[in-house]
């Protein structure tokens, strides 16, 4: 019996080619999307869970401020780990991590390495990274131990045994720079928030280790607890304990506070609200959005199947009738039709798995992950795929099978099989659903792209284009001034300055206090130390006072133990407003940020973090000793020549370091990488959705036209023109598309309103966006349908009547 079903199904599929192709393409695309997105979701949900102790590890986040402002950070001072282990019995051990980049040298090989990690010796006990060579207990126990990945071993030592070799790392001035390789560690899994090429022992940072601090928060602290249930009690204990520390040890007064929040390791990647972790976080919202999109695309494909199968059932009445006459019962018939849908699903599944494997590299690029195709073969995923296979089979094939088997026998035999009006209603509903989803995605895409365009072209308060950033490290500082002059003299360069970072994303957290009309005010600010010429090179707009001058450097008097040391400050409008002054009033006023100093100027507000956040108070202070980046504004006319010049100059001044540069606008674009990604994902999937919906519409229009052949013939005999017929056939479909648009618009408006709310600076949703999306959908649907409609309309009516 099963063989008979399979045989019929195969023959049927090979005979109704359009039906089969539309369904296989649709289901394949739907399943491929599901597999890829499924891999992504699996990857995201499994983040950091490879650690055997995952449920017992927490990250310590710092929270500090006062009643006016609070700041949160994923980093802490060096004291947190050891002090908490001493104080709280729940803490089994701790590890502090300090990621840096630096120049690594071995003999004549020299590279700028971005993933060097300092870690306490407990690293391999707390996390489950796999040490290929060396002893996990001792590999990081003594100063200047270093563990490297196989790739790095190959890069520096070729095929020689890396263990015992000595690498030179230029990091901090004054620290001992020769590191002995004590082990080889396997690459961190893709789904790990901690990634590395080198791991050096934390106690190599002697000055830092010997003098543990609550503040100077540059280090990630992870605690290993004895068991997971201790997180909440420990958190309570920390809150109480830190109040004591604030009062007795740190001497804080008023509303000032410093405390810590524990974040379970497995929640960091998807749920953390604290920025700047070990790597950019994922987001549970993205997981949801992608999951929903995958389901929607799959539903559109299933709907194509359901619609085509019911439309096609017109031609299958006789078969059903005959089978019933010769004794088939409902269950047997139902199995037969479900079998057909199962066969189609299986074919699509095999194609989809192959396609997913092929597309995975591109999808990895899109999502910035390194997922491997082998994950498809994991038991959990296979079970998921099998369930999905049954789900699709029944979702798409269930209704047609039921419809075909439940119709009365004599009705079929007497008048052939007619698609019932209720089936027709369902079909209409499903088309409406498909187009509602497509239009929703089109509107969302339009709005996301508009917002991205806004981000790229918004006046952010300075000119981010044609600025090259060059790194400055401690060895270059002595020559920095000369180097700067050498660059500044080149005709292709219009201005040179330096700063702690570029102005794109200023993360330095600080606090200022000042005596104002309403008493002493203090609040948290962002701050950036800069070199002379910062404001003018960045083309920021000064609205009061003047810019820094060489004379201001003289005030930084370090003699007599800094007794007369003064900073010079330029504040942004928001900071001045927060102090209760107008820009003009603020000039020459004194504020204190570690050291006292006068406000020399007020700069017009510019966006110094991503547009998600409103512009906060910012203090720009003159201190060239903090310069990490040289900012070179170049003429747009011959950038390659200027870069060649910079490279040559670099070789002269910093021969110990490879020439590496990037553009400021790249930094800016990097801030919105997740939004760019969302934009791409939406673009791709809305195109897929509309293509699939149209594919279904095309096939459905073909069937309906065939069913209406007689009607069309009669109308033509009665004098209908070709255009009358085309309108007749298209009208019904377009009506459904319009209903889809009406349903999708408010939903899209709501979703996009929510999304845009994530941005402090955003576009307004405009009515024309909906019109464009609607017109686009109608236009595409019209082209699809009219293809069939015109064919029907220009056919010879005698032919169409004869065929009845």
């Amino acid at each position: 019996m099963f063989k008979n079903y399979l045989k019929t199904a195969f023959r049927r599929l090979s005979r109704s080619r359009m039906y089969t192709i539309v369904n296989i393409i649709g289901l394949t695309v739907g399943i491929t999307s599901c597999i890829l997105i499924g891999l992504f979701i699996k990857n995201e949900l499994s983040y950091d869970r490879f650690n055997k102790n995952a449920d017992r590890i927490v990250r310590v986040n710092m929270s500090y401020g006062n009643s006016i402002s609070t700041s949160n950070a994923a980093v802490t001072g060096t004291k947190v780990g050891p002090q908490f282990q001493l104080t709280f019995p729940q803490v089994e051990s701790y590890v502090r991590l300090y990621p840096i980049s630096g120049i690594v040298k071995y003999q004549d090989k020299m590279f700028n390495e971005k993933k060097i990690l300092y870690a306490d010796s407990t690293f391999f006990q707390i996390f489950s990274f796999h040490l290929l060579r060396g002893n996990p207990a001792t590999a990081l126990s003594t100063p200047n131990d270093i563990v490297i990945t196989p790739e790095i071993a190959k890069k520096y030592f070729g095929d020689a045994d890396p263990v015992g070799k000595v690498l030179h790392i230029g990091t901090e001035p004054g620290s001992q720079n020769d590191y002995t390789v004590t082990g080889v560690v396997a690459d961190a899994p893709a789904a790990s928030q901690i990634k590395f090429d080198f791991i050096a022992s934390f106690n190599s940072l002697r000055k830092i280790v010997d003098n543990p601090q609550w503040f100077t928060a540059n280090y990630y602290t992870y605690l290993l607890l004895h068991n997971p249930s201790q997180i909440a009690p420990l958190q309570k204990g920390i809150t109480v304990y830190m109040k004591e520390v604030n009062k007795n040890e740190l001497g804080m007064t008023g509303s000032d506070f410093l405390t810590y929040h524990l974040e379970p390791l497995t929640r960091v990647h998807l749920y953390s609200k604290v920025g700047e972790g070990m790597e950019p976080s994922g987001s549970i919202t993205t997981v949801y959005i992608l999951g929903i999109i995958a389901i929607l695309i799959l539903l559109i494909a299933c709907i194509n199947y359901t619609n085509l199968a019911t439309a096609q059932s017109a031609g299958r009445g006789m078969e059903v009738g005959i089978r019933k006459v010769f004794g088939a019962n409902r269950r047997q018939l139902f199995s037969q039709f479900i079998g057909e849908s199962f066969l189609l699903t299986i074919i699509s599944f095999v194609t989809a798995i192959l396609l997913a494997v092929l597309l995975l590299p591109a999808f990895n690029h899109l999502t910035d992950r390194t997922m491997s195709a082998s994950a498809i073969a994991s038991p959990a995923f296979i079970v998921g795929l099998i369930l999905l296979c049954f789900f699709i089979t029944f979702i798409s094939g269930g209704y047609p099978a039921m419809m075909l088997t439940h119709s009365g026998l004599t009705k079929i035999l007497r008048s052939g099989f007619h698609v019932t009006s209720s089936g027709c209603g369902l079909r209409k509903t499903l088309i409406i659903f498909q187009f509602a989803v497509s239009v929703f995605l089109i509107i969302s895409t339009l709005i996301i792209l508009q917002q991205l365009n806004y981000i790229n072209h918004r006046n952010i308060g300075y000119d981010k284009d044609y600025v090259i950033e060059l790194p400055v490290d401690y060895r270059m500082r002595s020559e920095y001034g000369a180097f700067k002059r050498a660059i500044g003299n080149y005709p292709g360069v219009t201005a040179v300055t330096g700063a702690y970072t570029g102005p794109v994303n200023i993360q330095w957290g600080d606090a200022i206090s000042a005596q104002t009309k309403s008493g002493n005010i203090s609040f948290n600010v962002n701050a950036i130390p800069v070199d002379l010429g910062f404001i003018s090179t960045m083309k920021m707009q000064l609205i009061a006072g003047s810019i820094f001058t060489p004379g201001d450097l003289m005030k930084m008097d370090t003699s007599n133990n800094n007794a007369n040391f003064q900073y010079t400050y330029i504040l942004n409008e928001t900071a001045v407003r927060k102090l209760g002054w107008t820009p003009e009033e603020a000039i020459e006023k004194i504020i204190n940020k570690g050291a006292p100093g006068i406000i020399k100027g007020v700069v017009k507000d510019f966006n110094f973090t991503s547009l998600h956040q409103p512009i906060g108070p910012l203090v720009i202070f003159l201190d060239p000793s903090f310069v990490n980046e040289m900012l070179v504004r170049v003429k747009g006319s011959d950038v390659p020549a200027t870069l060649r010049f910079l490279q040559e100059t670099w070789r002269t001044w910093a021969p110990y370091r490879p020439f590496e540069y990037h553009f400021l606008d790249e930094d800016y674009a990097h801030l919105y990488i997740s939004e760019q990604r969302t934009g791409k994902v939406f673009s791709i999937f809305s195109i897929l959705a509309i293509v699939l919906a149209c594919l279904g519409l095309l096939a459905l229009a073909a069937y309906t036209t065939v069913q209406r052949t007689r009607e069309i013939g009669i109308r033509k005999v009665m004098g209908a023109s070709a255009s009358n017929i085309a309108v007749l056939v298209s009208k019904d479909f377009i009506k459904l598309v319009i209903i889809g648009i009406v349903i999708a618009s408010p939903v899209a408006w709501w979703a996009m309103y929510k999304w845009l709310n994530n941005f402090a600076y955003r576009i307004q949703i405009q009515w024309w966006m909906f019109v464009v999306a609607g017109v686009l959908a109608i236009f595409i649907a019209l082209i699809t349908v009219s293809f069939q409609a015109v064919r029907a309309a220009i056919a010879n009516p005698v032919e169409s009547l004869r065929s009845e």
Binding site: K7, T8, E319, V325, F326, G327, A328, T410
Partner: protein, 232 residues
């Protein structure tokens, strides 16, 4: 005197749509004896096909009595009817009603599959039926590849493969030319001679002459009955 295989009395079938009520069978009475060959004639719309559907257990009557082999089956539900049907009744249609996706062999095999006959036995019986209908050489062809006469021979093979006691034929020669039509009628006569009861609806006086008895219908009732020859 043979037993009655079919006895219907005061049988009613009414089709209702929202506005129109059509009486297809109006208190119809009729008997068919075991081994008899009965032809049912009448103008279009007189209720012939409705009668055949009810006799074939494809449809249920609205009223009256239907004794099949002495058992009252007017109240049978669909499942019961289907069970009785697949064991005892074979059908031959005017438009052959072969499944396009199945070969000649597979079409004939179909009733055996649904009655749960084992594969080896199925092969034997299908081949025997095809042999008898002289269509064995076409066993692997699809219906579209056959002439009308050949298709109807396949349909007859399918109707008899289950060795039914009753064959219901709905204008079996309606779509055939006269020589093919005669061949099919000869096949039916042979089957009847071998003991199978046959009820045939036809418009053709020529075909009707193959029967023992002709029932003429009008407006859902029997109007005349004529005996052509005695049943042996």
């Amino acid at each position: 005197m043979q037993n009655n295989m079919i006895k219907i009395s005061n049988l009613e079938k009414i089709y209702r749509t929202e506005e129109v009520e059509t009486i297809a069978l109006n208190k119809m009475n009729m008997e068919v004896k075991e081994g008899e060959f009965v032809a049912v004639m009448g103008p279009s719309g007189c209720g012939k096909s409705t009668l055949l559907n009810i006799l074939g257990l494809l449809d249920d009557p609205n009223g009256g009595s239907f004794l099949f082999n002495g058992e009252e089956i007017a109240h049978y539900n669909e499942r019961q009817r289907a069970n009785l049907r697949k064991r005892t009744i074979g059908f031959v249609f005017q438009s052959f009603n072969l499944i396009d996706e199945l070969t000649v062999f597979e079409n004939v095999e179909l009733p055996l599959i649904y009655t749960g006959v084992k594969a080896s036995e199925r092969k034997e019986r299908v081949e025997a039926a095809l042999d008898k209908m002289q269509i064995m050489h076409r066993r692997n062809h699809y219906p579209q590849q056959l002439s009308g006469g050949q298709q109807q021979r396949v349909a007859v093979a399918r109707a008899v493969v289950n060795q039914p006691k009753l064959i219901l034929a709905d204008e079996p020669t309606g779509n055939l030319d006269s020589s093919n039509g005669n061949e099919v009628m000869a096949l039916l006569t042979d089957l009847n001679d071998a003991g199978t009861t046959i009820v045939m609806v036809t418009h053709s006086e020529h075909d009707a002459k193959y029967a023992h008895r002709i029932i003429r219908m009008l407006d859902g009732q029997t109007v005349t009955e004529s005996i052509l020859r005695e049943q042996l």
